[in-house]
């Protein structure tokens, strides 16, 4: 009984993620929207690993998203590689791109770093734009196939309908989430928190700050590349827009709305952004205006995002029954990594 409880507590966030993944098909009409929530959830988690864990505000996540999209588009349309291998290649492309951007950007700190990531995002956009032979330029790459998972001609898992594809995305998402949880709970993840909380102190203790940040960057790039590839397979196109500033901004906004205290919050942010956005955009095409206001409100008064909001509500609820336990509320960022 006790061990069961321990396992439950240790994997609490993973179980919550699983519940979320299972709940979406039961409550939502569109399989594409549900897949998109998980895909951008992945991208937001990559961003969260930098912002929440390492204290790096990156406006360059669109680069890695775009790299993932272009890589899978090129491999699936030009070379007859099996799909899982193409997906792995997209992950590698995201990681390599992040290593390159990170190598330069990490030389700077604070504001300079933020500006550099944005400048690199713009650079990547114009790079993609000026190489139409590879990226399709303004049109992007089209007609990306979505091959089913097959072994030796025998179809294991057809990915034809949106909900079939959702199942595949869900498995990839859960595996990636589990791995990222492992990373954030590891000694490495804890060290990143030390870097975030006090860079000078972490450096003085003897940690190689640049290496730590670069590693965080590479992991983040890999996850974001994966998200980009999954997205390209879902829509069948790798548009130039996926390399645009807007993509970077969207990923960052989702991360901030969800909250940066833990990784699961990013899924919340992505779900909120996409589902509420989907609903609002039918009512009012300029709903992004509200989003801008929400972002300002979060910056001004609820820096722990939606997750923080739910957490305080939950604590208050519990506090009504057990007043002593209400004090346990976790501080910003150092929340339970389960």
């Amino acid at each position: 009984m006790n061990t069961a409880m321990t396992i439950l507590r240790k994997n609490f966030h993973l179980l919550l993620a699983l519940a979320f993944v299972l709940a979406m098909p039961l409550t939502m009409q569109s399989g594409s929207l549900a897949s998109e929530v998980l895909i951008y959830g992945l991208a937001a988690m990559g961003c969260n690993l930098l912002l929440g864990h390492t204290g790096l505000l990156s406006f360059g996540q669109g680069i890695f998203f775009g790299l993932g999209s272009y890589t899978i588009a090129l491999t699936l349309t030009r070379w007859p590689l099996p799909m899982p291998l193409a997906l792995a290649l997209a992950v590698v492309a995201g990681a390599v791109g992040a290593a390159l951007v990170g190598w330069v950007a990490i030389r700077q700190r604070g504001t300079y770093f933020v500006m550099l990531t944005l400048a690199f995002a713009q650079m990547f956009y114009f790079l993609a734009y000026s190489m139409p032979g590879l990226t399709g330029g303004d049109n992007g790459l089209m007609d990306i196939p979505r091959p089913s998972l097959a072994v030796g001609g025998f179809t294991l898992w057809p990915l034809v309908s949106p909900w079939q594809y959702y199942g595949f995305v869900a498995v990839v998402f859960l595996v990636a989430f589990w791995l990222l949880q492992k990373v954030s709970a590891s000694v490495f993840g804890r060290t990143l928190l030390a870097v975030r909380d006090n860079e000078e102190r972490a450096g003085a203790i003897g940690y190689d700050l640049r290496l730590l940040k670069l590693q965080a960057f590479v992991i983040s790039g890999a996850v974001t590349g994966l998200a980009g590839a999954l997205h390209a397979m879902m829509t069948g196109i790798a548009p130039l827009a996926s390399a645009e500033y807007h993509t970077s901004e969207m990923i960052l906004v989702m991360t901030v709305i969800g909250g940066t205290g833990n990784l699961l919050a990013s899924l919340l942010g992505s779900a909120f952004y996409l589902i509420v956005g989907d609903w609002l955009s039918t009512l009012w095409p300029r709903w992004l205006l509200l989003l801008g206001v929400v972002l300002m409100v979060i910056s001004l008064g609820m820096q722990r995002g939606l997750w923080g909001l739910f957490e305080s509500a939950w604590n208050r609820l519990r506090g009504a029954k057990h007043p002593a336990k209400a004090q346990e509320g976790t501080p910003v960022g150092t929340g339970d990594k389960a």
């Binding site: 504001t111 650079m123 300029r286 801008g292």
Partner: protein, 286 residues
């Protein structure tokens, strides 16, 4: 040969606009220690307000005088109502609040004027070209170079020769010390932020007859301003001037050599400067 000379002069024209765009961002950063992501949005407002005034049949010259004042006032209000409340919050939120503001302004512009851009006519007085022998150059662009040069001198005088300027410069060294000397730093913050917004708006008004007004010009300008500031050095007036001219000339010359890659080249120039001189050409360490 003469085509390159022409492109260099063109580049100076673009570069002076880039300087104007970047200098506000740089001064605001120097004093307030955060990057204003809404800076591009003030530029956007400048261009659209100019567009609206000319649509009403008012003259471009009136727009050039009034729009910076209006946008400057908006900047002043923004600092008072919004930014003041995040100074105590973690550094990321200073940036994020301006990202939210930029998004809101951009959407408001689309709401008001639609998602497609429109052109703004060059004022009658400056239509046509000037000719000196074989040298031909649009009058309006020549005016932009002259006007921004005068503005640059004026700004330099404000920063170097006035009490406000010395408070701003001292404030970017140590805000605490300045407030201990009995100067109301919050008033200076508001003024500087308003000044930054106004310079961005002037750049927007001046750019409108050249490139028209469209909703996404703000974000594009923000990217360029970042490059200029990174190249020239954060918080440095001279850096913004040198960086702006350098980036303008690189972009302009490259557009004859490799048109598709002209925009790309300015970012490559930035990466090169950054690798060789991490704090920018004229930036201070730290």
């Amino acid at each position: 040969m003469s085509i390159y000379l022409l492109q260099v002069i063109n580049g100076i024209g673009i570069g002076m606009l880039y300087f104007l765009l970047a200098v506000g961002l740089s001064i605001v950063f120097g004093l307030l220690r955060f990057v204003n992501f809404a800076h591009g949005a003030f530029y956007l407002l400048g261009a659209y307000f100019c567009y609206q005034m000319t649509r009403w049949g008012l003259s471009f010259w009136l727009a050039l005088a009034v729009v910076p004042l209006v946008v400057g006032a908006l900047g002043w209000l923004t600092e008072k109502l919004v930014l003041r409340h995040v100074y105590a919050k973690p550094h990321e939120f200073h940036i994020l609040v301006t990202v939210g503001l930029a998004l809101a302004i951009q959407e408001l512009v689309i709401l008001q004027w639609g998602p497609l851009g429109d052109s703004v006519a060059v004022p009658d007085l400056l239509q046509g070209v000037v000719m000196w022998g074989s040298f031909v150059y649009p009058k309006y662009r020549l005016f932009v170079i002259g006007f921004t040069a005068v503005l640059a001198v004026g700004l330099w005088w404000v920063l170097e020769g006035t009490r406000l300027g010395s408070a701003v410069r001292a404030g970017s060294e140590s805000t605490e010390m300045v407030s201990l000397l009995g100067i109301n730093v919050f008033r200076i913050f508001s003024l500087v932020f308003a000044l930054g917004a106004a310079t961005a708006a002037i750049a927007g008004v001046l750019a409108a007859p050249i490139r028209g007004a469209e909703p996404f010009m703000g974000i594009e300008a923000l990217g360029v301003a970042f490059v200029v500031v990174v190249v020239g050095g954060m918080g440095s007036f001279g850096g913004a001037l040198v960086g702006g001219l350098l980036i303008g000339i690189v972009q302009s010359v490259m557009s004859t050599v490799w048109p598709e890659g002209a925009r790309l080249m300015i970012y490559i120039a930035m990466a090169a400067v950054l690798l060789l001189r991490p704090h920018g050409l004229l930036g201070r360490k730290g």
